[in-house]
């Protein structure tokens, strides 16, 4: 069925970035990838193409151009809202087969990781998962690096004889660029292609009965973070108090998310987001490798844990062995007194 190894690599060109939109809202990772894509096309001399799938996408298409896409491919149809794997996969696959991109970058969100395989499998593309570093060599070969074995290893994955070279990229790892709001988009119409929609509602094999997008806060941009783990046992009050005193965003370990104390959009780690704030305060978090992987690029790490042997202390700059419920209010109080002292002459 598939001509493994026998494809014409020359027939494939350009770097595609998938722009993930839910109900008009763009996921932050899409703009991170567009910025990173610019670095790749600067080396390969190819076009940077944004792919926008969804419904009522004019504003998103415009923003993709403002943020540096050379061209935008749009599939605008009610069948794509809300997201489902089968229509997205079929549409994306058709676009890849017709237009032959060399590199395709997709945000490693639940959505991106859900449908990427439905494109890579039928096109026999290489699909690298959860990439945290990307580069391209002189021959246009993607060097995609990804953590494995819980983050102990960084593996370089190559796709030498197949195209496209697809990758899902972990959210929060790269910086988004600034949109160019005064740019000259006179040629805008030429840059936008409305593609044929190949999916019909009658052929879909899944149906969204109910959708609650919940909390979609982007924790990856926060400068200060207070993180809670299983050790807080549902008692969020002291953590929120400290976060407020610090002007910090609240995040959580997977264990705290699974307990339902904090929303999944705020999970840090291997299966959550990567954050790199100036300050990361970990409360009742043991420091499992899958958690540390998502926060070890933070500036200063502070750990509060009752267990002196908790691994988190090895990943912290400052730590204290103690009960978070006892330490947090005292830290918050001292921070507030300090703020007060600053405004007083």
């Amino acid at each position: 069925a598939d001509d493994a190894g026998g494809i014409d690599l020359e027939a494939y060109a350009d770097v595609w970035v998938f722009v993930e939109v839910h109900d008009g809202d763009v996921m932050a990772v899409s703009w991170e990838l567009l910025e990173e894509g610019k670095k790749l096309t600067a080396k390969t001399g190819e076009d940077l193409v944004a792919l926008v799938i969804g419904e009522d996408l004019d504003a998103v298409v415009r923003e993709a151009l403002e943020r540096g896409a050379d061209r935008v491919l749009v599939a605008d149809d009610p069948v794509f809202e809300p997201y489902r794997a089968d229509p997205y996969g079929a549409q994306f696959r058709a676009m890849v087969e017709e237009r032959k991109p060399s590199i395709v970058l997709i945000g490693g969100t639940h959505t991106g990781r859900d449908f990427a395989g439905r494109v890579a499998v039928p096109t026999h593309a290489g699909l690298t998962a959860d990439v945290t570093e990307i580069d391209v060599d002189d021959d246009g070969l993607l060097q995609a690096r990804r953590p494995a074995f819980g983050g102990d290893i960084l593996a370089t994955i190559l796709c030498e004889e197949h195209r496209p070279q697809m990758a899902t990229v972990r959210p929060g790892v790269f910086e988004p660029g600034e949109p160019d709001l005064d740019g000259d988009f006179a040629t805008v119409d030429e840059a936008i292609t409305a593609v044929d929609v190949v999916v019909d509602e009658s052929e879909t094999i899944s149906e969204v009965l109910e959708r609650n997008v919940g909390d979609t806060t982007d924790i990856t941009e926060a400068d200060r973070i207070v993180a809670v783990g299983a050790g807080i046992e549902g008692d969020l009050e002291p953590a929120i108090d400290l976060a407020e005193a610090l002007g910090a965003e609240l995040v959580a370990s997977r264990a705290a998310v699974d307990e339902g104390w904090v929303d999944g959009s705020r999970q840090v780690g291997q299966t959550g987001k990567t954050v790199r704030p100036e300050l990361y305060v970990a409360l009742g978090i043991s420091g499992a490798i899958q958690h540390v992987e998502g926060m070890n690029k933070s500036g200063t790490v502070i750990a509060i844990n009752t267990d002196p042997n908790a691994p988190i202390f090895e990943h912290a700059d400052y730590g204290i062995v103690g009960d978070f419920a006892d330490v947090c209010p005292r830290l918050a109080k001292s921070l507030r007194e300090r703020d007060l002292a600053e405004v007083m002459p």
Binding site: A116, A148, I205, V213, D263, S265, I320, V327
Partner: protein, 258 residues
């Protein structure tokens, strides 16, 4: 109608036991004991929970070397009706493309209505295998699943999916591939009786690539990706200073945010 539920289980090195080789300074995975990928225990529970309410037969499958048999025994001890070991030298070097093809082909051969997998593995953790199985067979898929509502009368499976902050309820037509969100579906303990049977009397079915008719579509040659190199990640250098009292911590904190 009886549902056939196929569960994918993989053997991985025990993440808790992977040490550093004192001579080379490299990770010593070879000596770590092999265990069932922890998220797959949750997949087994999800499959068995469907069987609790729907007339069903649950079959565990693994693609791996014969020494992976203990993960199948564990699955049978938990309550699976049968298990298949898919083993062949031809599989060596398979990336997620042929791996999911092999599992897709086995699921099809078994007449699966539902395939249940873990969210991802603790070794290479791509999370690509479940959508890959669905894609190879053109089946529906439900990933990041937190809850399941089987609808045998409609030939559908309804799932609550985690959507990073919220949730959605999605109905999928059978056959469908499910990837269970790790942490949901607390695995049930194996009954003593089942455990004794699994360990002493049970023999898994064994299939090769040729048995599945895919001998030319597996292994290194058809794998689009390859591992170009691996580096151990140096831990980030931290001060590791543990202070004695809260006031001291407060002043450190004040310095940091000054």
């Amino acid at each position: 109608m009886t549902w056939t539920i196929v569960v994918g289980v993989k053997q991985v090195p025990d993440a808790k036991e992977v040490g550093i080789d004192p001579d080379t300074g490299r990770l010593d995975r070879a000596n770590a004991p092999a265990v069932m990928n922890p998220p797959d225990r949750h997949a087994l529970e999800a499959a068995l929970s469907i069987k609790d309410v729907v007339d069903a037969r649950v079959v565990a499958i693994t693609m791996g070397p014969p020494m992976a048999t203990p993960v199948l025994e564990e699955a049978v001890a938990m309550g699976c009706d049968d298990a298949v070991l898919i083993t062949d030298r031809a599989f060596a070097g398979s990336d997620t493309w042929p791996t999911s093809l092999t599992l897709a082909s086995a699921a099809d051969t078994l007449g699966a209505d539902v395939v249940v997998c873990g969210e991802e593995t603790t070794d290479s953790s791509t999370g690509q295998v479940p959508p890959g199985i669905a894609a190879h067979n053109g089946w529906a898929q439900l990933t990041y699943v937190e809850d399941l509502e089987p609808r045998p009368d409609e030939d559908r499976l309804v799932a609550v999916r985690d959507v990073e902050g919220g949730y959605e309820r999605v109905a999928a037509e059978l056959p469908v591939v499910v990837a269970v969100a790790y942490g949901e579906f607390d695995p049930r303990p194996a009954g003593l009786h089942r455990k004794l049977y699994a360990e002493n009397d049970f023999e898994p079915i064994e299939w090769t690539a040729a048995d599945l008719g895919i001998e030319d579509e597996v292994g290194l040659d058809v794998s689009p990706t390859s591992v170009g190199g691996m580096e151990t990640v140096d831990p980030v250098d931290r001060r590791g200073e543990v202070v004695d009292d809260v006031d001291e911590l407060a002043s450190r904190l004040a310095e940091v945010i000054a």
